[in-house]
């Protein structure tokens, strides 16, 4: 009896491609829409997990594109002020609404009412990247943001590939002008006032719309641009919904995954890379999380980036195995241990 599944390749089937494969060899990437060329410049943006991607990209080669690298600062100062953490010093961009807002601000289509918040320990911070730096003078926040927005424009117009990691659906925004913040007022600056700020939990459609606005606008400015979307596997640290943070995490990731799927169906220059599935899927269930079951451990990041490199960078051009080192795939086989040794194990 024939069925539509009869002659499908192994990756269509759980038993053949997942249940029979060791956890570290799980590879859900069937094909990519494009490859990273040796001259390509890759930019990263998004939630915390995007930081891992950025760090690993720097190890793989010279692909990582940074427009705000803090070259004028000492190494320690660069890290402390988040230079090089992402391609530009925008801090974590958790929501699609944030990146669309950043675009509109960068190109003068939107100006926030509030452009500085008091820091938690004095000084002033940028409400849209409050952890990046605390400034002594309020005016310095605006000056630095002007420079940052110029860097963002340079980045988006010059990069060949943007890796954007979708992180959250929950956010806080201004009730006056709709400005979306990465952190709630009061967390890393600002003062929480329920009359001025409100909570929002975006729907999959909301995310899809904001993401699509951003992608289309960015592509118009930079026709070379290709985008790799990923969904962060890092669960929510906290939810403002009156329910378990675990339930909110499931909703949030599902909505983001749906929006990413919509984008790859709509745009053939947008790809989806399944870091979320690699880390959270049952085949690797829990192996790639730290003790808090939230942070992704280095083994998980290594698995993700191994596949990223294999599929986007190495591809079919991966160097052939060195004959000298594959010749010894045969074990140096100690079939019989010496008696003096064997005595120990009896």
């Amino acid at each position: 009896m024939t069925t539509p599944y009869k002659d499908l390749p192994d990756h269509h089937f759980w038993r053949r491609s997942i249940a029979s494969v060791e956890a570290h060899r799980i590879d859900p990437v069937v094909r990519t829409r494009f490859r990273v060329a040796p001259t390509d410049r890759i930019a990263t943006a998004g939630s915390c997990f995007a930081q891992h991607i950025a760090r690993r990209l720097q190890k793989i080669g010279d692909y990582y594109f940074v427009v705000e690298d803090g070259a004028h600062l000492a190494q320690a100062d660069r890290a402390a002020r988040q230079y090089g953490l992402f391609s530009a010093r925008y801090g974590n961009i958790y929501t699609a609404a944030q990146i669309w807002q950043l675009w509109r601000e960068a190109y003068g289509e939107w100006v926030p009412e509030e452009n500085a918040w008091p820091g938690r320990d004095g000084g002033w911070v940028d409400p849209f990247r409050p952890t990046v730096e605390t400034f002594e003078q309020r005016e310095a926040v605006s000056a630095d943001r002007t420079a940052h927005l110029a860097a963002v424009r340079r980045l988006l117009e010059s990069c060949d590939i943007l890796v954007f990691t979708l992180g959250l659906t929950e956010a806080w925004r201004s009730l006056r002008d709709g400005a979306v913040y990465p952190l709630a007022p009061g967390v890393a600056g600002g003062v929480y006032d329920p009359a001025r700020y409100g909570f929002v939990n975006y729907s999959a459609t909301d995310v899809e719309e904001d993401l699509d606005h951003f992608l289309v606008a960015a592509k118009q400015r930079n026709p070379r641009l290709r985008v790799i979307l990923t969904v962060s596997p890092v669960p929510l640290a906290a939810t403002f919904e009156d329910r378990s943070v675990l339930i909110s995490t499931t909703y949030s990731k599902a909505a983001l995954r749906v929006a990413a799927e919509a984008m790859i169906r709509r745009h053939d220059w947008v790809d989806y890379f399944p870091s979320y599935e690699i880390i959270t899927g049952s085949p690797t269930g829990g192996l790639y999380y730290g003790p808090d079951d939230r942070e992704v451990n280095p083994l998980g990041v290594a698995h993700v980036m191994r596949l990223f490199q294999r599929h986007y960078i190495d591809g079919d051009d991966a160097p052939a195995a060195n004959a000298a080192v594959t010749a010894d795939a045969t074990t140096d086989d100690a079939v019989i241990c010496d008696e003096s040794l064997i005595e120990r194990w009896r």
């Binding site: 956890a23 083994l299 074990t331 140096d332």
Partner: protein
Amino acid sequence: MSNCQTLSLARGISAVAETVECEACDAWQMAERLAADPDYFRRFDFMLVLANLRDFPGFPADRLPAHVDVPCFSFTGYHPDCCYVTADGERITDGLIGPYHSMIALAGYKEQLGPAVTARFFNDRIYEQAGYYRQWQAQRDQMIERFAKFGYDIGGVFRKAGRGRSFMHTIDHPDIVLMIELAKVILRRLGRPYREAAPLPVDTLANMSWPVYPEVGEQLGVAGDYRFRPTDRYASLGLNEYLEEVFASFGRWDRSQLRVSWQVQPRLQHIRRLIREAL
């Protein structure tokens, strides 16, 4: 009847089998037991025999009950740097970690480097170029093929015993988790019922261990370290301490006397070349 793995395998079988009791006899005990009773093995209903033992002196081929052969499980995938070293053709078995040695350490020693300089070559670049990252897959395929020749399907063993962990203490000392899974494979092939879950027996081969280097472990989903556990010690040594002690022990021989087996000679030469190029 087998090698150093026999006790673990026998314990593993006893732990999971529902209708079988299993006793172990290693290659060296074989001669003693046969000397005391030439028909010793006929006391048993059935035997599992390490295939390679058939060439062992005194192997009682004509005095065995019904039996099947079982191949040896060896696996360098987690420990691609671990090897045997011979001096004047004799395997050095009284090393810090019994008979096990680091190939990079040996290469450094033969290149007349000191321990501190040699330690620098325990790195991602050397591992990549020496093929360390390709060993796991190659060895897995080889073991599956080796066991398949004897009618055992061990494909699922790697997935189960190696989930987020190494199932080898050293290159030819599997841990008890792996041996339990092998026991199930053997019982299944023999049509004997077994329990999926059972209390783990004492792991007889756990008295020394080679570390999974972090860079290697990263490729395999295993948290690695550079902690070498010498024979019968509980305190492990870091890489620098290990190299200090190993270089001191290598000093007993002229550099030219220290060799590895022919199977892994190409790799040693390759590593020596990489080291020379990097210096």
